[in-house]
């Protein structure tokens, strides 16, 4: 399986334990290139832990993670990022010290292209400026793309919660990722805003970026996911297309409930 070129990400038998809590137990799944895959499950099921294991924030205790057929389990987040993976966080984590602006935040996403050094900063300022200007242009375009046009000089702390989310997304896109991990990106958006957000995600996919998304908003999940994996108490509960999952009795009991609020399959 892992040799297959269809899969950009392959997670094999991953285990993660915290002080007696089995956050992930023998989880395996794959994400196909160009797909949007959703990772869902009850609170505390281990979804964020899984994203952390993949992105290197908290490496798995055992098991393997392959990104484009390359083993990445145990690598540091920066190495993994250089291989083309980027992510957002469940609670937004923006850079705010020293009055860093929205633009600064997005430009940070270009780090791996700029790759600055002290020597360059001191003695080759012209060359650095040029690279920086190119990046700036791209950053402004991305801000426009996510809908934060004109906010580039604001301080991230003054944006509303939802806009901070969008900023995080722009910053991640700036790294030109091949695979994007999103942790509950739609939380805090109202039903109307969710609609435009869905469009945004689809546009990102159309740029050729694969997405693995953790989300509780079933409207989003059912609308955009090509396939879904469900975790419960650290174990894989089910995997399949949105139709299959929404009919799966176990999933309904453990997670979806009566679905009277939002979940409708609209594909």
């Amino acid at each position: 399986m892992k040799g297959s070129n269809d899969y950009i990400l392959w997670v094999d038998n991953v285990i993660k334990t915290f002080e007696g809590i089995h956050a992930l137990e023998h989880v395996s799944f794959g994400v196909k290139k160009g797909h949007i895959k959703a990772l869902i499950g009850p609170n505390g099921a281990g979804k964020t832990t899984m994203l952390n294991a993949i992105s290197g924030l908290l490496p798995p205790d055992s098991g393997s993670v392959y990104l484009n057929n390359q083993q990445i389990a145990g690598l540091t987040p920066d190495r993994i990022a250089l291989l083309g993976l980027s992510r957002t966080f469940q609670l937004v984590r923006l850079f705010t010290i020293n009055n860093a602006t929205v633009l600064d935040n997005v430009l940070l996403g270009a780090h791996k292209h700029l790759n600055p050094s002290i020597f360059e900063a001191m003695f080759y300022r012209g060359r650095m400026k040029r690279k920086e200007n190119e990046a700036k242009e791209r950053a402004l375009n991305l801000l426009k793309f996510v809908g934060l046009e004109g906010a580039e000089d604001a301080l991230p702390g003054t944006l509303s919660f939802g806009n901070q989310r969008l900023l995080e997304l722009a910053r991640s896109l700036m790294t030109e990722p091949k695979l994007l991990l999103l942790d509950e990106p739609a939380s805090g958006l109202n039903d109307a805003e969710v609609e435009s957000f869905i469009k945004l995600l689809l546009a990102i996919r159309d740029k050729g970026i694969t997405i693995l998304i953790v989300e509780h908003n079933m409207k989003v999940v059912m609308k955009i996911a090509d396939d879904i994996i469900v975790l419960d108490f650290g174990k894989k509960l089910a995997e399949g297309t949105p139709e299959e999952i929404s009919k799966n009795q176990q999933v309904v009991e453990a997670y979806l409930g009566t679905q009277k609020n939002s979940c409708k399959v609209e594909k």
Binding site: L57, D78, I80, R93, I97, N98, A100, L108, H111, I118
Partner: protein, 316 residues
């Protein structure tokens, strides 16, 4: 007005340039005070890179100050090495030390990091004291010759004054170049949220170590300048207390701004030259002045000045 806001930095340079012949009145004491100010500006600015921009709290900056001073002192006084080379060797040693200790030490966070750097400072000092045959021990190391450059000895206090300040300006300019570049932005990201920063391909241990090396090299230069000026150095002036003093300069001036620490260092070094008349009350008065500054200028002296300038500009 516009010209002023672009080229304001010329004013302090002019001030420094004409000081020895105007306010300084050609007095070794008055230019001496400014030489010390310059040396401590280097220390404060280099520490600001580390603390203010990268968020790596260090209470051991004086250790590198000591390494620079002692390398220069020992090599020139005992082995007759040219001061220029001695200074370079000091920088090399400091940088190497920073490189060697950087990874493990900077992996620590906040107070633990503060603690480890404090320990590092103490280790350097106890070694200087312990290896008395080599360093002069606690009694100090004397007979350090004045600085020489292109065969020209800077015995005259005015020559040395200019020499020091030229270096100060280069270091300030270098530091500004670093923090205003994308390198500086990387530092800010590490400072804000290091784990998140790593997700953008920032190899933070490497960046932190690099910066630590730069900051140490600057501190080492300050040490060399200090040694050649004092002619005599003793471990008393390189202890943890000195490191803490440098830190106070940062916060007093306004951290993470480069300009702030410059003001802070100037303030801290000039203050005792004014309050010494209070004799027994000097300590209390210095404390109270510091407190007043901190209470009324939460963003430091630089913050207040910036605010004032903005207010003036808005009126204009």
């Amino acid at each position: 007005m516009k010209i002023l806001s672009r080229f304001w930095w010329i004013l302090p340079i002019i001030f420094i340039a004409i000081y020895p012949f105007t306010l300084g009145g050609n007095s070794p004491y008055k230019s001496g005070v400014l030489i010390f100010v310059g040396i401590y500006i280097i220390l404060a600015v280099s520490l600001d890179l580390l603390i203010g921009y990268c968020g790596q709290i260090s209470i051991g900056h004086a250790a590198f100050f000591a390494v620079g001073a002692y390398t220069s002192g020992i090599l020139t006084a005992k082995y007759g090495v040219h001061p220029m080379f001695a200074m370079l060797i000091g920088m090399l040693i400091s940088t190497a030390l920073a490189w060697a200790t950087g990874r493990p030490v900077l992996a620590l966070k906040e107070y633990y990091l503060a603690m480890a750097t404090l320990a590092f400072n103490e280790i350097v000092i106890t070694l200087i004291i312990g290896l008395e045959g080599f360093t002069g021990g606690a009694s100090g190391l004397g007979d350090i010759p004045p600085f020489k450059i292109f065969g020209f000895s800077l015995v005259n206090h005015i020559h040395y004054y200019y020499f020091v300040w030229i270096i100060v300006f280069f270091i300030i300019a270098g530091s500004l170049a670093v923090v205003k570049s994308s390198f500086g932005r990387t530092l800010i990201a590490i400072h804000s949220d290091e784990p998140a920063a790593r997700h953008f391909g920032i190899d933070s241990p490497r960046y932190k170590t690099r910066l630590f090396m730069l900051s140490s090299a600057f501190a080492s230069i300050a040490g060399s300048l200090y040694a050649h000026y004092m002619g005599f150095i003793a471990p008393d002036d390189f202890g943890v207390i000195s490191s803490v003093n440098i830190m106070v300069m940062l916060y007093l001036g306004g951290i993470g701004t480069i300009y702030g620490p410059i003001l802070g260092a100037t303030f801290m070094k000039i203050l005792p030259e004014i309050t010494y008349q209070f004799q027994d009350y000097e300590l209390l008065i210095n404390g109270i002045i510091l407190i007043i500054v901190l209470v009324f200028m939460p963003k430091g002296i630089y913050g207040i000045i910036l605010k004032a300038i903005n207010r003036v500009l808005r009126k204009v």
